[in-house]
Symmetry: C2
Subunit: 203 residues, 2 copies
């Protein structure tokens, strides 16, 4: 018996290695996934292979808002009923969807597809800031609303973008920070409370 006789077949090893491209999947999870697919869900594995091929071929980015789209201009950007003067900058398509669910915004969007994160190698180029600057200076947009997350990285991203745009005389705003709906002062963290206080409005 060769020393490798008890090892997994090569194509199984290759599958395990390939599964590791998924975020959050290490060697053990990848092995568990490969075993599961080959043992219990071959139909699912075939569907996954096809869906990957299909999505890779068809999904690109909207030329205007940069979100995932199967067409050059996504349906939202192509819509005639949206307010073209407002441009809301979000990190991910999920954020765009959450904004839409509020039904309180009818402007355009720009999706960064990430946030500045130097440690992960994500700089201004990876989040398409050139494209954003061009988009914000189309002569129609008159306000850019920064709706990145209130995390450290989201904050840094918003700050960076606002500096870039202000130097080009584009008017920029940032979504408000404060107590959440139903938030009780007793239970809210002090950072949020301090920001709610600093951001108080006359009434």
């Amino acid at each position: 018996m060769r020393p490798t006789d008890h090892q997994n077949p090569q194509s199984l090893d290759q599958l395990v290695e390939a599964l590791r491209c998924l975020p959050g999947v290490g060697p053990k999870s990848a092995l568990r996934m490969a075993y599961h697919l080959l043992q219990r869900d071959r139909a699912g594995a075939q569907t996954l292979a096809n869906a990957l091929d299909h999505a890779l071929q068809r999904v690109g980015h909207c030329q205007l808002c940069n979100t995932f789209s199967e067409s050059a201009i996504c349906p939202l950007c192509a819509s005639s009923t949206r307010d073209k003067h407002l441009l809301c900058v979000v990190e991910m398509p999920t954020d765009l969807m959450m904004m839409e669910l509020t039904h309180s915004y009818n402007g355009m969007y720009f999706v960064l597809m990430g946030r500045l994160s130097p440690l992960d190698g994500i700089g201004p180029k990876e989040i398409n800031l050139d494209k954003l600057i061009k988009r914000a200076q189309d002569g129609i947009v008159n306000e850019v609303i920064l709706a990145t997350n209130y995390t450290n990285e989201g904050e840094a991203t918003a700050h960076y973008i606002s500096e870039l745009l202000k130097s080009r005389d584009v008017s920029v705003s940032r979504i408000a920070r404060g107590l959440p709906m139903g938030g009780e002062i007793e239970y809210v963290d002090s950072g949020t409370l301090s920001m709610a206080l600093l951001g108080r409005k006359s009434c």
Copy 2:
């Protein structure tokens, strides 16, 4: 604008749905994975699609030991230097590899590819017990060693198999239970200690 204008493109939704066939991947992880693949690792996604296709085509089960194999009989079963009288039953190929790493077993294997788990819909048929019974009664095997895990499900599986085989006059044994190497009585759980006591050997 139609109400669905802000939704993900269809082929992206299909990819998200397909990723959910992976164990432990829910809707949020699947979305995160799909975004990651399409945004940051298209090469990885293509490799994964190809690896899935390749593995689905090539990986089957060894006719003798039931482990994953690219050939009808796996290299270990085909080896001429192994002891054909011993048959060790394990749950998964990883368990087989761990057994091999001990270098203290030179017999044959049977890999159940699972354990009895009625709640997950895994019964005797799913873990190939018919195949095991036939394998154990080939006239050459004279001892079946049950090396399933010492979990509830592994224990139930071992018990079930031992009843099946004993009723067919096959000699069956179970790997020992007791203190692990370097185990200190002060720190070991009482279940293990009680089993170590019950399983004591004269010396």
